[in-house]
Symmetry: C2
């Protein structure tokens, strides 16, 4: 596999980091639109939500991968830390909204995002990390070290 | 069905409400032990976790059903509200840790807990509520109005 040299080459221009307020101008919302419904978000709405999430500190972080040559966000994923009474007042990391830009797939960016998020959960003392995915993405998460556990049920209000 | 009269009779002694700090003395931890691993929790640990969850206000609530004649907590479930950028800065309710005391099953207490939690999510403006469950509990959640959506993946650290 040529993956290693590609990966090194990529890494020179890629940065894996937490979401910053300026990422709205780097295509963060457009990236999310590849995952689910997301109309345009105003600067004010973005800033308000950014502040709400930031107020939780390490309990809710959003990881992004920036292509620094192009100044574009090309992958993202989030995690929040749930505090339970179960498991001796244990903590669980919940991974959400993982997406890689359609033009940047096959570059292991999804794995980088998942590693960033699971490392964070481990450092926060979580006893497990969970996520929900479609059947077609199951194999990807298995490669990342996840195992299928339960079924996800949903109730939609809108 | 005789369910209605049973339910009315039950309701005279049952209260569905948010967790209170005094619920540790009413068997809340012992109830959770019917769901998963939970060794005894000290008063200090309980209070610290209670305060952490309470600090999130309406963004993380724990519902309990108290049998007021016996002074015991006989059902519980929790929900936290995740704030997203997706769905036009939408919110999602995550239901966790639903359990009904083994001596109190068949009395629709699970449904009461789920109704309390989904009502809360709706009032908070969530566009959906999700939860993970075993295949054997799927039919129960379908009766509550949920539909199977994805698969849950987990990575355990301990």
């Amino acid at each position: 596999m040529m993956q290693n040299s590609d990966s090194v080459d990529q890494e020179q221009n890629l940065r894996v980091r937490k979401l910053e307020i300026s990422d709205k101008g780097k295509g963060f919302i457009e990236l999310l639109q590849q995952l689910s419904v997301c109309d345009s978000v105003s600067d004010k709405e973005f800033q308000d939500r950014f502040n709400e999430v930031s107020s939780l500190g390490d309990d809710h972080i959003i990881c992004v991968v920036e292509d620094e040559l192009r100044g574009r966000i090309i992958a993202t994923g989030s995690i929040f830390i749930e505090k339970k009474f179960l498991r001796n007042c244990g903590k669980v990391g919940h991974i959400e909204d993982v997406v890689v830009d359609s033009s940047a797939r096959g570059k292991q960016l999804g794995k980088k995002v998942i590693k960033f998020l699971t490392d964070h959960a481990r450092s926060m003392g979580c006893y497990k990390v969970i996520l929900d995915c479609s059947l077609e993405n199951k194999a990807f998460y298995e490669k990342c070290g996840f195992k299928q556990k339960e079924v996800q049920m949903a109730m939609y209000f809108v």
